[in-house]
């Protein structure tokens, strides 16, 4: 028997998708400018963003298109930058009710972006796919539209506005992590440690040229592993 999901959370998802959509639109404008320089048409950019929905991945991809990199290089680079999605996808796999259909799992997988992952993982209890669908319904078109608009008119937007919008997604990430630190010293410390590690890591000579995606993977595996051993969660803890 498949679990019956409360479809009314679609609306809650749409509401939570609004800040994501705003941030996406802003970042996608910047992405569109890069795509335009690579010779991508507005329609191609719109289509690319609609099916890929990956800021850092598409950014690197368009940059490589501009320099006509070999396909295999593009594939390897895309994989390295986006390998953190493997971790996120595995994390969500543990939050499904066992009877959740493969189709629901695959669609949720499709929408594992940093932001949609974060709001999906932050909800208590089993994943209700309709919540994520609601958020994606608002956020994904904004991402695609922003890319297209960026290609058409990215250069005529006031730079002060683009600059201000560039922090929208970071504000969202803060709102997804910091509140949990208020009543939980372990989360508080893991956030601080992550900031410090993220800042110091690229200064280590051996890792100085590393991509941001690779940095996120290496540090996430190290820090989350150490915390899992030092502060394992007891069964049933929220």
């Amino acid at each position: 028997m498949e679990i019956n999901y409360d479809k009314s959370v679609f609306k809650t998802g749409m509401k939570d998708g609004i800040p994501i959509a705003l941030g996406y639109f802003a970042v996608a404008l910047a992405l569109g400018i890069v795509a335009r320089n690579a010779g991508v048409t507005a329609l191609q950019g719109f289509f690319s963003s609609l099916i890929t929905i990956s800021a850092s991945g598409e950014y690197a991809g368009f940059a490589m298109m501009a320099e006509k990199a070999p396909y295999i290089e593009l594939a390897v680079m895309t994989f390295i930058i986006n390998a953190r999605y493997i971790l996120m996808s595995l994390t969500l796999s543990q939050k499904f009710h066992e009877s959740t259909s493969l189709l629901h799992r695959a669609i949720i997988g499709f929408f594992v972006t940093d932001e949609l992952f974060a709001i999906t993982a932050a909800r208590k209890g089993y994943i209700n796919p309709y919540y994520t669908y609601g958020a994606a319904f608002v956020a994904a078109p904004a991402w695609a539209l922003g890319t297209g608009v960026g290609i058409v008119m990215g250069n005529i937007l006031p730079s002060k506005v683009v600059s201000a919008l560039s922090v929208a997604l970071f504000g969202m990430f803060l709102a997804l992590t910091v509140p949990a630190a208020k009543n939980n010293k372990v989360i508080f410390s893991v956030i601080i440690i992550s900031y410090i590690a993220s800042f110091v890591f690229p200064m280590i000579p051996a890792f100085s040229g590393i991509s941001d995606g690779m940095k996120a993977i290496i540090l996430t595996i190290i820090i989350a592993s150490v915390y899992a051993v030092l502060f394992p969660r007891e069964e049933g803890e929220a």
């Binding site: 066992e98 594992v112 201000a164 922090v167 970071f170 997804l176 893991v190 941001d212």
Partner: protein, 103 residues
């Protein structure tokens, strides 16, 4: 098919493979408490790593990035509201860069 479309389809295929294959392959509940704990910490660590120091370098002026970071930390500590925190960070950058432009 144009060369652009080939690039775009490769990006699409590789990106979606990293998302969809793991979520479809692992359908059993993992019972090991250390592995469960690892996945519990992942979002906090990954998002925090992506926030800092990247937020500092995102705006035109890094001073504005510092202000946005501080404003965002304070706002998210007191208000668990994504839209509000996000807008306050943007406004912080806009005002700071306006001031930098004036002085």
């Amino acid at each position: 098919m144009s060369i652009n479309m080939k690039y775009i389809l490769i990006m699409f295929a590789v990106t979606q493979a990293t998302r969809i294959i793991p979520i479809l392959l692992v359908r059993k509940k993992i019972n090991n408490k250390y592995i469960i704990s690892f996945f519990y910490y992942v979002p906090y660590v990954t998002l925090s790593i992506m926030i800092f120091p990247a937020i500092i370098n995102a705006p035109e002026h890094s001073e504005a990035g510092v202000v946005a970071f501080i404003v965002g930390l304070i706002a998210s500590w007191y208000k668990d509201n994504m839209i509000l925190v996000s807008i306050l960070c943007c406004v912080a950058v806009f005002i700071t860069e306006f001031i930098i432009g004036v002085i």
